[in-house]
Amino acid sequence: MLSRAAGVTTRLIPHMAPPLASWIALDKSKDEPTAMIEFRSVTKKFPDGTVAVDDFSLTMPSHETTVLVGSSGCGKTTILRMINRMVDATAGQVLIDGEDVANRDKVQLRRSIGYVLQAAGLLPHRHVVDNVATVPILNGTPKAQAREDALELLDKVGLDRSLAHRYPRQLSGGQQQRVGVARALASDPNILLMDEPFGAVDPIVRADLQAELGRLQSELGKTIVFVTHDIEEAFALADTVVIFRKGGKIAQKGTPAEILANPADEFVETFIGADKARRRLRLEQAAEGGTIVVDGDGRVAGVLDDDARSTRGDAVS
């Protein structure tokens, strides 16, 4: 109602447009999209009869990272792709901020959501900088401006600008993933979908990329839905971890701490490796008087921080 009235005013008194517009924008910020994603009894049956997702319900809070983990084929990718309508649900609803995505124009919806895949999926015939600038240019940003922004995004994801005019195939896998992340961020989306984005790089690079993503997220506060096979990666990145069992049912959902401390059942226990010796840590006194942390196999996992010892000494002993 308010914006309609304002719209009329704007048309009648054109010179008032800028201040009015900014006033409306300010006003809107009160109920600015928070990018909460909600699945309501969603089912996906593929034409060949495969039921990939069956009566699935979950809320993914805004500005948080929700990580989906589970064995292969349990429907994680399908769930992710129903958010940007790369897959359409057969039953149920997927809502973003309360609006059913089925009512949104597919193309516009996808441009408003960042998507990073395992193989980066960069356009092989375009330079790195143009890959990053793809979505803004589709959205009508002038090319020069989009390229300039793309260079800044390269800085942001930790890529040297000298790589901007390479083709994707001239980058290492880890570098390509960074470009993929930069491209997904280019239109400043509220939602970021990441499907095993670091699955194809070696463990050291992966750790690097995870740390980088953590830093970016603390800065940007996007709603991130992240799919992985790697429970360590899930715990490293998640605000909420959702563990699937076979058949796409949720085995447990919670913060990493909740899940580690209270695995719901044996399946979760095995899945997170809680039964493994490396997860069972205890304190031991070292010969020199310091306190060390030792895992179930007796391997030294680290030392107890001095501060932690003095403040929480009672609790752990």
Binding site: Y115, V135, L138, L159, D160
Partner: protein, 253 residues
């Protein structure tokens, strides 16, 4: 060897290029006719087959049907098609026009399968992941086609047109038996006059024309492929990424 020298002498004799030269000269006119037929038939085939090939390659629809039909079309004897179409056209049109129109229709029909195959197999060769990512980024189907699929399969698309052009150049030669002009006329009159020199000169000219056109298309293909081919610029593995990451303050973790 004498035949060859005679033929070359015939080709390079300015008298055979002069405007008032006797049939089958002037050679320049025959070459231009030949090029004209090739351009019309290959052009028409491209106009018809490219959109169809793009549609099939992009959607995957109708692939089986088209493979069957084009396969059958390829197996058709060129001369048979020529005479058949020319005769059919002859019923509707005055004799002189019928030969030209009929031949051009036949040449177009014969050129379609190559262009079609190049277009749809080209599009099919594009990495599915790349297309999926483009779609997920919010490209419309038309943008995917124009900005991703066609640029990435351009060498194969042009390869199809190249094959079609060569086929038209060759088939247009025999089309002179159905009344078409072009370099086939030189060969035909060589046969008719029992003059091997003229016959061989015509054959040489056709061959040279085919090789020249082929070279032009090879060049275009190469130019379009250059961007898509692996490049040997050394990749400093993770070094620069790590350096960039360090510079952007990873110390905060």
């Amino acid at each position: 060897m004498n035949f060859l020298l005679d033929a070359l002498a015939y080709i390079f004799d300015p008298a055979n290029w002069a405007a008032n030269a006797t049939s089958p000269a002037p050679l320049g006119d025959r070459i231009l006719e030949h090029l004209e037929y090739t351009a019309i038939a290959a052009g028409a085939a491209t106009l018809i087959a490219l959109p169809l090939g793009f549609y099939i390659g992009h959607t995957g629809k109708g692939r089986q049907a088209v493979i069957g039909v084009t396969g059958a079309m390829r197996a058709l004897p060129a001369l048979g098609v020529l005479y058949f179409v020319t005769m059919v056209a002859g019923y509707q049109l005055p004799f002189l026009v019928a030969a030209t129109v009929g031949s051009l229709i036949a040449l177009t029909l014969l050129a379609i399968p190559s262009v079609l195959a190049g277009a749809y197999s080209g599009l099919e060769s594009v990495d599915r992941q790349t297309i999926d990512a483009a779609r997920a980024n919010g490209m419309t189907e038309m943008q995917i086609l124009l900005r991703v699929e066609i640029p990435l399969s351009l060498p194969l698309i042009i390869g199809g047109i190249r094959a079609a052009v060569l086929q038209v150049v060759a088939t247009a030669t025999i089309a002179s038996f159905a009344g078409l002009g072009g370099l086939g006329r030189v060969i035909a009159s060589g046969i008719g006059l029992n003059d091997f020199t003229v016959l061989l000169a015509g054959a040489l000219l056709v061959t040279a024309l085919a090789l020249l056109l082929d070279a032009v298309f090879a060049l275009i293909q190469k130019v379009t492929a250059v961007r898509l081919e692996a490049d040997d610029t050394p990749v400093a593995e993770e070094a620069s990424a790590a350096a960039g990451a360090a510079a952007s303050g990873r110390g905060s973790e």
